[in-house]
Amino acid sequence: MNHEQHYRAEWLRLQTRRQFLSRSAAGLGTTWLAGQLAASEGSEPVDPGDSPANGGLHFPAKAKRVIFLHMIGAPSQLELFDYKPELVRFDGKECPQEYLEGQRFAFIQGTPQMLGPQFPFKQHGESGAWVSDRLPHFSKLVDKVCFIKTMQTDQFNHGPAQLMVHCGQPRIGYPSAGSWVTWGLGTENEDLPGFIVLLSGGRQPRVGNALWGGGFLPSVYQGVQCRSKGDPVLNVSNPNGVSRDVRRKAIDALADLNQMNHQEFGDPETLTRIAQYELAFKMQMTVPEAMDISDEPKTIHEEYGTEPGKESFANNCLLARRLVERGVRFVQLFDWGWDSHGSQESESLNAGFKRKCEAADRPMAALLTDLERRGLLEDTLVVWGGEFGRTSMAENRGGIATRFVGRDHNPNAFTFWMAGAGVKPGMSYGETDPMGYMPAENPVQLRDFHATLQHLLGIDHHKMTAPFQGLNQKLTGVKPARVIEEILA
């Protein structure tokens, strides 16, 4: 920040704190949007193009909140959504050289063989979307969903590629999309964190909390991991023997003493701290309540396939609904085990992958149905995807045919689907080549996806920036990004 910006930020912080204290809400400090609003209050519009009618946003927000389902490991698009009859014919044949030239692989050596789709595909719904027989529940909902078949990334190892998906950079230290959005818009429910992360248990994402890190944004915008086991939020329970009543008394005393301190020193941060203790006290109720799915009716449990108290993708799908229902801005789910190289049983298309599909199909379908039933799908954006795609060739790690069937990493083409707020339902965007290896038309970069995500939330990706290292940083980075207008409803 330069000098003026620094002062301006200080001033805005103060302004917002006043508003915050008078409303006795917040806890997030100054969001980008609050800054926009404070700046536009009674002065010229922030930008002539921005209508004040959008509440400080650049566009009318179609989406108010986001649920992002990330299948860590990169699920095979060729076994789920990207049906390639031509690849069936090539099954077992040597890979044509044109596909190998200039390509870098993680594990494939020399000339591999092509691998046909491992499961039968069928068209579904009015849109006629192709889905394999691995997702029987989800395939009934294809008319609610928009597929992007030509997602591209420039990273072919998991760690950097996962960072690309969430932070737009292959390096650690940049804010994740959830942090940008929470910093941008704040949250609708001050009693819960604005950006919540849910892990299915099992293996952790390899880059860990960097996937939901706040980077150079204030740390308050980083994702908060909520857990199904132990404290849902770290230290949300009182120590043994301390009742809520005792805690109330202690916090009251603390507030009074801090108030005295404020009388003497006049530091506005002291007032914020008093409010934060109050908020923490509230969160001790609201978080466990939000995270407790045992009060859901039996029909819901059956629909999702949930079991209270377990760490699972199904539980997290239901939790995602509960959280967006309560106004959480960004809910990030991470599932694991989708890295189907074929080098071992659990990570092979013919075994482990089948189990992953079985476990994911019902809950993700239930989530869409449930959100729609409650009218939430209208303004909640649901995104599903991995960090890259998988090759049209079979893997031959170490130059030896693997025991199980698998595919290597393919950064050139993979499938995302989006549903809900502002996205055209029942459509498919982008086509891959007959082998499903490269885009044949309409490639979509991750930065285009990020631009589109922000657009749906009412934000022009060029304009929401944070200064860092001499550059106005943005989620979409420095290369040109475009909103995928074609998929907007």
Binding site: W11, G42, G110, I172, D231, A253, Y277, G398, G399, Q469
Partner: protein, 969 residues
């Protein structure tokens, strides 16, 4: 920030801001300037940066025009004649196709801005270097009005007071002595004063008056806690962590470096030496163990151990990180953007990035999961010098020995090609024999499988009557391109030599014993002798990448007489499978034979070999920790460096030599072809315009919350301007000269200044006029760092261990936090009562992908990249942490016990606890309020009153530990 680019209309709600900006504007001018003279640095440069350089700057030079330098903008500016200047013509144009900036890029310049430009050009269009790129000069200490004579004691105060009064603010009176003591103790050593220290200070104050402050400051600076406190900001800057980051984030043993930093700070190692040791300690003549250890700073970069990752890609990323960290931490500039293009604002050219990168491009590390190269650092620092001496002896003896053999190896007449070479493998890897050159070789075709043994059968070389050594020579597929774009290397896991006599049965091979292996470099990463160990997959060869043809010589146990021998068979097993993806198998290989008796003479296990073995044995007895450090590549195999097009290491262009950039002054010729050590000397030179300023500013920021340059990470033209430029420059000069680069001297000067001693009381007016306290009209009151928040709670409660140094510890963390990707990385929490549970936070295991929860909640960075400034937040998650985390619960329990033991009545207990927590006696109101809480928790008719009183005291202790006053400086 986007919001800042808007134009403001005058209106009641922004009037206050306007007032504030007006105050600010009054303080932005630099040095003496004529009333109407336009100042390029403060008035024109920001204008150009905001409106022009996006298209006419370092990244793009539309129409060959760049406003970075005078000469690249000369054709649009006519000095002295604004109306004749093309620049102004375009700025003023009404034609939307002509006007600059173009409407789609930004708004038109307003009248005031145009006026500035016009006046600047008319006044001669004088360009000035950015302030921070000229060496600092000591400034005259300003006179302060006589009524303040008693206020300011040091030159710092005079500078501060001048700016303060200029902005219409008045200084605060001094804080109560005890408050100063607490502030200084927390700032200097990260721990609050003990009751005894408080008493002593108050007694001395009575006795010697003001001199007591100096005495207290000296004691605090001598406290070993000083190094533990000040290590943290430095460890942030050099991205210290105990894990490798990206990929698997496995554990890395590098804590010896952390101890080095603490120790160097406590010894007050002058900052120039501190700098040189960390950047190039390995290249210092007579480098000590400490010097080597200091270079571990460069090895804190991330290593990607994920399967299928390219070691060269992540080696390059690590080198890039070293460049960026060096610039960020020492020079306060974000050099990273020059990786892809010239700097957008500052005069740094694209190729200068790669010239600088060349300083770091010739070390032997290459993203290996073993963290090679390592040095064995003795556990006990008292053995550093004896261990280093032994290492030097071993290296010297070995180097002489190796050189002797290498000479033989390099003599062309030594080696003879075999006849009738035939190649096969043990697996699916296909090989053919090519004899295009003089020496026949095998070449792989198609896929290379892992665990490949290449079997080479041949006839004995013509004219050779005996064999004493054989050489395996692996070549890159393309030796020309490999120099810049390395290929995967090879490792000879095992070498087997067999012969078959004439007329013998087909399978009557007999094995010939080998005794020694010689590498073509003196200090390879892997032990070449492992090639003779059938159980090890390691051995001689370039691990894991190769830029040049590389070889290993295998010396026979005895002379092999060739008289009877008809056939020779050499089996080269190459079993390293790097990252689960890349078989390290030479794609081209040759085998050569020597009959020179000298090999056997050299290898004789007597004399010097024995001396070597003895030395190594003695060294082995010194218990040591293998620590990654910097090690230069053997000169013969130096890598060339090249510019990467758009920052992509796969597309290299022009080859460059190591050089420091031009824009920081000095003689250009003197800056070319330097060594890394010379580069380090250049940074640590008294004349470097940035080094001292950046260091002084960092210390200032630690003490006052914000640096004099608030963007501690950016001293470039896009960074913040200093609020007190004259003070910054004077301090920087003093730091180098008077203080001889002593950080302790600098801190002493600052904490004894009246500026620092001021009370932190902030009136409503002061908050309004100066919310960030940039004009320093009140004392600092900032939230303590994560480390100090935790350490202080331990100290107040009496739990803190004073054990220093050593391997990282694992204090309690909430359930569910520890779930590392790599299962073997355990978090072993010591039991209650074990002192490792209560160590200073700096000793806590720092894992990049799982941050220590207290650190995460209180804004500590994750240490992936250089961080020179922490942003402070104030959140409910922090409250949950200090209310409920095991550490704080234990601290509250311990504090309650301490209070209980100290006195009988609740009042006295409260007073004592309060004093421990904030180093002052509580007011009556404060005691009353705490007593009220105590009574409300005790008022029922309890059966076990003692238990209840203890419980109540614990709640009181918890409140004390959570006081806003405790959490702040």
């Amino acid at each position: 920030m986007y919001a800042a680019s808007i134009s403001l209309a005058i209106n009641t709600s922004v009037a206050k801001l306007y007032r504030m900006l007006a105050v600010l504007a009054g303080c932005l001018s630099f040095g003496p300037a004529l009333a109407n003279e336009v100042d390029f640095r403060t008035e024109i440069r920001p204008l150009l940066n905001e409106h022009c350089v996006a298209c006419h700057g370092g990244v793009k030079q539309a129409a060959d025009l760049s406003f970075i330098n005078e000469d690249t903008a000369a054709y649009v500016v006519e000095p002295g004649d604004a109306e004749a200047s093309y620049m102004l013509e375009r700025v003023l144009s009404d034609d939307p196709d002509e006007v600059m900036p173009p409407p789609e890029h930004g708004r038109k310049l307003n009248a005031a801005e145009v006026d500035l430009l016009r006046r600047w050009i008319n006044q001669g269009a004088r360009w000035q270097k950015h302030w921070a790129f000229d060496a600092p000069v000591r400034q005259a200490v300003p006179d302060v009005p006589s009524r303040y004579a008693a206020w300011g004691k040091s030159f710092i105060d005079a500078f501060v007071l001048k700016r303060m009064l200029d902005t219409g603010l008045e200084p605060n009176p001094a804080a109560a002595p005890e408050r100063w003591l607490r502030r200084a103790a927390l700032d200097v050593r990260g721990l609050p004063p003990t009751p005894a220290e408080r008493e002593m200070f108050m007694a001395e104050l009575k006795e010697v008056g003001d001199a007591a402050y100096g005495q207290a400051a000296d004691r605090l600076l001598e406290d070993p806690g000083y190094g533990e406190k000040w290590a943290t900001p430095w460890l942030d800057a050099v991205r210290y962590a105990d894990s490798r980051g990206l990929g698997l984030d496995g554990r890395r043993t590098i804590w010896k470096y952390r101890d080095w930093v603490i120790d160097a700070l406590n010894k007050d190692l002058p900052y120039d030496q501190f700098t040189i040791a960390q950047l190039a300690g390995d290249l210092l003549p007579n480098a000590t163990m400490d010097d080597l250890l200091a270079t571990a700073q460069n090895r804190l970069t991330q290593t990607n151990e994920e399967g299928g990752t390219d070691d060269e890609q992540f080696r390059v990323e690590a080198v890039i990180d070293r460049v960026n960290t060096t610039w960020q931490a020492w020079q306060g500039l974000s050099f990273g953007c020059v990786q892809c293009h010239s700097h957008p604002y500052d005069p740094i050219a694209h190729e200068e990035y790669y010239q600088f990168l060349a300083f770091f491009n010739n070390t032997t590390d290459s993203d290996l999961s073993e963290d090679f190269p390592v040095v064995r650092v003795p556990k006990d620092p008292r053995q550093y010098s004896s261990a280093r001496e032994l290492d030097q002896q071993i290296d010297a003896v070995w180097k002489t020995l190796w050189e002797k053999a290498d000479q033989l190896n390099r003599s062309e007449s030594t080696w003879h090609s075999p006849e009738h070479l035939h190649a096969s493998t043990n697996n699916s890897t296909k090989v053919v024999v090519e004899a295009t050159g003089e020496i026949p070789e095998y070449q792989t075709r198609g896929n290379v499988a892992k665990n490949t043994t290449v079997v080479l059968e041949c006839k004995p070389p013509e004219g050779l009557t005996q064999i004493t050594a054989l050489k395996f020579w692996g070549l890159p597929e393309n030796p020309d391109s490999a120099k810049l774009d390395s290929e995967w290397g090879f490792v000879v896991s095992h070498c087997k030599l067999e012969v078959r006599d004439a007329n013998a049965d087909e399978d009557a091979w007999r094995e010939v014993k080998l005794q020694r292996v010689l590498s073509d470099e003196p200090f390879p990463l892997l032990d070449p002798m492992d090639s003779l160990n059938a159980k090890s997959s390691r051995g001689v060869g370039p691990y894991s990448r190769m830029h040049f043809p590389r070889s290993g010589v295998f010396i026979l146990q005895d002379v092999l007489d060739l008289e009877q021998v008809a056939d020779i068979r050499v089996s080269i097993a190459q079993n390293v499978f790097a990252l689960g993806a890349f078989p390290l198998v030479a794609h081209r290989g040759r085998v050569l034979f020597s009959g020179d008796q000298a090999w056997l003479d050299w290898a004789k296990p007597e004399g010097v070999w024995k001396q070597l073995a003895d030395l190594k044995n003695r060294r082995k007895k010194i218990e040591s920790v293998a620590t990654p450090v910097m090690q230069q590549r053997f000169a013969t195999y130096h890598r060339p460096s090249a510019v990467f097009e758009r920052g992509n290491y796969l597309t290299k262009s022009e080859v460059v030599r190591p050089k420091v950039p031009e824009f920081l002054g000095g003689e250009p010729e003197a800056k070319s072809d330097l060594s890394r050590l010379e580069m380090a000397n250049w940074i640590a030179d008294a004349d470097n315009p940035l080094t001292a300023r950046v260091a002084v500013n960092r210390v200032w920021g630690e003490l006052f919350g914000t640096g004099i340059v608030s963007t501690q990470e950016d001293f470039g033209s896009a960074g913040a301007k200093p609020t007190h430029p004259a003070l910054l420059d004077t301090l920087a000069v003093d730091f180098v000269t008077e203080m001889r680069w002593s950080q302790k001297a600098l801190i002493r000067e600052l904490i004894l200044s009246q500026t620092y001693r001021q009370s932190a009381v902030a009136s409503g007016e002061k908050i309004e006029a100066d919310p960030g306290n940039r004009w320093l009209s009140r004392g600092p009151r900032n939230r303590l760092s994560a480390e100090v928040v935790r350490d202080q709670a331990l100290a107040i409660s009496g739990l803190l261990s004073d054990k220093r140094y050593g391997p990282p510890v694992h204090p309690p963390i909430p359930d569910g936090v520890w779930n590392p990707f790599q299962g073997g990385d355990k978090w072993k929490t010591p039991k209650k009562g074990d002192e490792d549970r209560y160590r200073r936070t700096v000793y806590t295991y720092t894992k990049r992908t799982i941050q220590f929860p207290i650190s995460a909640a209180f804004d500590a960075p994750t240490r992936e990249a250089c961080t020179v400034r922490r942003l402070t937040s104030n959140t409910p998650l922090q409250s949950l942490m200090t209310l409920n985390d095991t550490l704080f619960v234990e601290a509250a329990e311990a504090l309650a016990v301490r209070m209980e033991k100290h006195a009988d009545s609740p009042e006295r207990q409260i007073e004592y606890g309060f004093g421990l927590a904030v180093c002052r006696d509580p007011d009556e109101d404060e005691v009353t309020r705490l007593l009220k809480l105590y009574e409300s928790l005790c008022d029922s008719e309890a059966v076990e009153q003692e238990i209840q009183q203890r419980f109540a005291l614990q709640q009181l202790a918890m409140v004390l530990l959570n006081l806003d006053e405790v959490l702040n400086q």
